[in-house]
């Protein structure tokens, strides 16, 4: 809370900097803005930036580094016997001190010594806070004075301000690159740690997946096998079912909407299909797990089939419905991109509408449609919530859609939810799976975009 108030104070200072700078600029030319290099407001922004940027940068740095520095100082003040503890025990001890200082529950008996260190810790934190406030305020005021001092009719304030703006724009456009780098680095790094424990060949081509790692070496049935083939098979099975639903329905409805439907129906139905696209996946998952899967099981029982309550069919079907609007809007785009002249040529030769669509438009749009379907497949592979809620956990290597299978995304979620330790192959396996997922979807996207772009050039 105090941080928030302090940030507000800094903001007030920055705004004050704006007015000070502007009035100063006006004063230097005795109220004749024509003699200034830039508009008076730019001098205001100039001073405000001088005041705000260094101060906020320092504040951010301080907030980021404070915990580490204070902890270091705390540890160095501890008695030697404590300092020589192994890192994990030391961490627990420091945690206790921190909890005691914050008034939380402590896991050990509070002796005077611990109380003293906790008080020391509180003191350190207090000193750090006061120092932070003083330093940042000093920097802000120094910046303000310096900026104001620099204001003169010859100062190129606009150029300076515009430079800062341009730097901000460039920085924000590199965020996309930074997050890609972040994804790749974190996945590769953690997966690399996984592969030091499990051989990549076993991982990529193993036929058995049971990620429980034994607590003791002699424990039965808990060896931890990390073969991802069953997961891949399950993912492919569910995505295949999904595409069996989404591809024909999405394609046919796109054709109907773009070629047949009267405008009135189109304006009515199109938003409704968009609603289907806007429904969160957790809602589809809820529906798949609690309505579709149980009814499939009942129907199966009625005709004497044993359908698992987490059947791949239910998850795949609902996932297919989720992808319908995706397929239909992409196909709609490519179908309407086919030049009208081709349709008219076909009609002129006496072909019916459906013949035109099947023999002329569809072949012409095929590359684009294939690209769209590839994008849809990549969506299906990366989809998480539907399968987490409706598909199974056990890794069965089967092609029977009535049985439960598991997928890559389900395993990532189950491996990571609730688990905090970061050394076991169990949690690291999730990152290896994530890397596979990332590579596969990236590959599909690159191919799809290439196909779509190549096709687009043909007609434009």
């Amino acid at each position: 809370m105090t941080t928030l108030i302090f940030v507000a104070v800094l903001l007030v200072l920055t705004v004050a900097g704006f007015y000070l700078g502007r009035s100063r600029a006006m004063a230097t030319v005795s109220g004749k803005p024509r003699k200034l290099h830039s508009l008076p407001g730019y001098y205001g922004y100039y001073v405000a930036l001088w005041c705000g940027i260094p101060a906020f940068a320092l504040l951010g740095l301080w907030l980021a580094l404070e915990p580490y520095v204070v902890e270091k100082m705390l540890v160095s003040s501890l008695p030697e016997t404590v300092q020589e503890l192994p890192p994990s025990r030391l961490g627990l001890y420091v945690n206790d001190i921190r909890n005691l200082a914050d008034g939380n529950i402590v896991s050990r008996d509070v002796d005077p010594e611990l109380q003293a260190t906790a008080d020391h810790y509180t003191g350190l934190k207090h000193i750090s806070h006061v120092a932070a406030i003083l330093c940042v305020l000093a920097i802000a005021i120094a910046g303000l004075t310096y900026g104001r001092h620099r204001v003169s009719p010859k100062l190129r304030a606009r150029n300076g301000v515009e430079k800062v703006i341009t730097i901000f724009l460039i920085a924000s456009s590199t965020i996309a690159i930074l997050s890609t780098i972040g994804i790749v680095l974190s996945l590769v790094f953690e997966a690399g740690r996984f592969f030091t424990k499990v051989s990549p060949l076993d991982f990529l081509f193993g036929l058995e997946w049971s990620p429980q790692v034994a607590l003791r070496a002699d424990q039965v049935g808990a060896s931890g096998r990390f073969g991802m083939i069953p997961l891949l098979a399950g993912t492919i099975l569910i995505s295949f079912i999904a595409m069996c639903v989404a591809a024909p329905i999405g394609l046919l409805s796109a054709i109907y909407m773009s070629e047949y439907a009267p405008t009135r129906i189109r304006t009515l139905v199109k938003p409704m299909l968009e609603i289907l696209a806007g429904i969160p996946t957790v809602v589809y998952g809820f529906f798949a797990a609690l309505t579709v899967a149980p009814s499939f099981r009942e129907w199966g029982e009625a005709v004497g089939l044993s359908v698992s309550s987490e059947s791949a069919l239910a998850a795949g079907l609902v996932m297919g419905i989720m992808i319908i609007p995706f397929v239909s809007s992409l196909s709609d785009d490519v179908i309407s991109a086919v030049p009208q002249a081709m349709r008219e040529g076909s009609y002129g030769l006496g072909a019916t509408k459906s013949e035109t669509i099947k023999r002329v438009i569809f072949p012409a749009a095929l590359p684009g449609i294939v690209g769209g379907l590839l994008l849809a497949v990549s969506r299906a592979i990366g989809e998480t919530m539907i399968v987490v809620m409706a598909a199974g956990l056990a890794a069965n290597l089967t092609a029977n859609p009535l049985q439960a299978v598991t997928t890559v995304t389900v395993q990532i979620v189950t491996l990571l939810v609730g688990d905090q330790e970061f050394d076991s192959p169990k949690t690291l396996a999730a990152f290896a799976l994530g890397l596979v997922l990332f590579c596969v979807t990236l590959l599909l996207n690159v191919i799809a975009l290439q196909v779509v772009n190549k096709y687009r050039e043909q007609y434009e």
Binding site: S172, A176, S179, T180, G278, F286, V388
Partner: protein, 448 residues
């Protein structure tokens, strides 16, 4: 028909006749095929629409019962020896004592008074089980409110509405079939009998379920509420908006207005397009590895959730913003540059205001996408069981879609109902946001 020769020969005419006869005879088949094909299209659209309607009716049908809650009207006697055993008189002190007093005894007393014939220990325990464990809060709230208002209830006999237990609630709503064998249902025969006796005396009441909209999560379905998740979603969205909007607009403005056409900007563009297609769970892994493990930010905090969701929504908003900037005609820029504005002035004073409605539409759509996102938040620990309402972006919190996920996993039917109700609330938010986006587009759309 197919003859293009300028002087038709006799065989040509014959061929023509034969050909047109073939065409005429095939027409029926072709028209049938035409109709069939058209019907396929209609069936496909119909299937999607029927599914949509089915989904909505299913969820509304499941969720509606969660909006009402069965309450039991109890006559309780608020004995001073239960509430204020030490006889505190000071107002402040008394409030403190009352907030921790033992209300359990009062409820036990009130409910056993209603059934004097129930004497055995186990029966009595089952009898007390008719009311929710949260009933103590119902009484405490009323007693404290009266005390603060200056009219003490201590020593009086008052009628009070308390939450019925989950099983009784389900029984009242007709979700527990009495025809099933006793061992196979959640309520026993004697509980049903007690319930009917309460009902005959008019002590069972159904009210609007305010708990659902005011409380945080709970292990007892009748006390579980969505408000904690709504507030958590609010903080998360606030962080997402604060990060993604300026960054996305900045990136779009740079790429569209300033960037030179070179390898670097091409790389950025390819990156943005690819990021838009990366599965959201991979962003969750990024958040876990970078934000939590590397930077040591707190688990389960809306701050981290918002940061991850901001990365997910960035491509959406960037792409929409670039489209909005593209639609501003170059004549505006040329006119501004012509009267001596700098490049930055042109963009910020003239182009950006005109593109803003389109950018805001894109932002709202991106926010709607982020509001429904679940998977990446599971990775960064926003699935914890959290009772308290989060007070800021650093408190542990959960969000609406994750709450739906958590509730739908629980065995109690009442939680599934609440999950459906939560879906209705979430969809309500999404519909409002999308309607806003459409409105914005309609209101400010400009044809140049």
């Amino acid at each position: 028909m197919s003859n293009t020769a300028s002087t038709p020969s006799v065989t040509g005419v014959l061929d023509n006749r034969r050909a047109s006869a073939a065409v005429v005879s095939s027409l029926k088949r072709r028209y049938a095929a035409e109709k069939r094909f058209r019907a396929y299209g209609m069936i496909a659209v119909g299937f999607a629409l029927i599914f949509l309607i089915f989904l909505f009716t299913d969820i509304i049908g499941k969720g509606l019962p969660a909006f009402t809650q069965t309450m039991i009207r109890l006559d309780v006697t608020l004995y001073p020896q239960d509430l204020n055993p030490e006889g505190v008189t000071d107002h402040e002190q008394l409030l403190k004592v009352l907030s921790t007093a033992n209300y359990r005894n009062i409820i036990v007393q009130a409910i056993t008074d209603l059934f004097p014939d129930v004497t055995s220990r186990s029966d009595r325990r089952a009898l007390v089980g008719l009311v929710s464990p949260g009933a103590t809060f119902d009484i405490r709230r009323q007693v404290m409110a009266a005390e603060e208002a200056g009219r003490s209830l201590i020593g009086h006999r008052v009628r009070i509405l308390v939450h019925a237990s989950d099983d009784i609630d389900q029984l009242e709503k007709g979700h527990i079939s009495v025809d099933v064998a006793e061992a196979e249902r959640r309520v026993s025969d004697r509980e049903i009998e007690w319930f009917h006796r309460l009902k005959e005396r008019g002590l069972i009441e159904t009210t609007f379920n305010t708990t659902l909209f005011t409380a945080g999560d709970s292990r007892s379905p009748e006390l579980a509420g969505l408000w904690g998740a709504v507030v958590g979603s609010f903080w998360t969205m606030l962080v997402t908006l604060a990060l993604s909007f300026p960054l996305a607009v900045g990136a779009a403005v740079y790429l569209e207005e300033f960037a030179p056409k070179n390898k670097w900007t091409q790389l950025i563009e390819v990156n943005i397009n690819n990021l838009a297609a990366v599965p959201s769970i991979v962003f969750g892994l990024l958040g876990l590895a970078v934000f939590l493990n590397f930077f040591g930010l707190p688990r389960s905090a809306p701050l981290v959730g918002g940061m991850v969701l901001a990365l997910i929504t960035l491509p959406t908003i960037i792409i929409a913003s670039r489209a909005a900037l593209k639609s501003v005609p170059p004549s505006i820029r040329e006119a501004a540059l012509g009267v001596g504005a700098s490049k930055v002035q042109t963009v910020f004073h003239h182009v950006l205001p005109l593109a803003m409605p389109g950018m805001l539409t894109g932002t709202i759509i991106g926010m709607a996408q982020a509001l429904g996102e679940t998977a990446p938040l599971l990775m960064i620990g926003m699935v914890a069981f959290i009772v308290d309402i989060p007070g800021g972006p650093l408190d542990p919190a959960t969000v609406m879609p994750v709450q739906i996920f958590l509730w739908s996993d629980l065995p109690e039917r009442a939680f599934v109902e609440r999950a459906s109700a939560a879906i209705m609330v979430l969809l309500g938010f999404l519909i409002v946001m999308n309607a806003l986006a459409v409105l914005l587009r309609k209101r400010f759309e400009r044809k140049w």
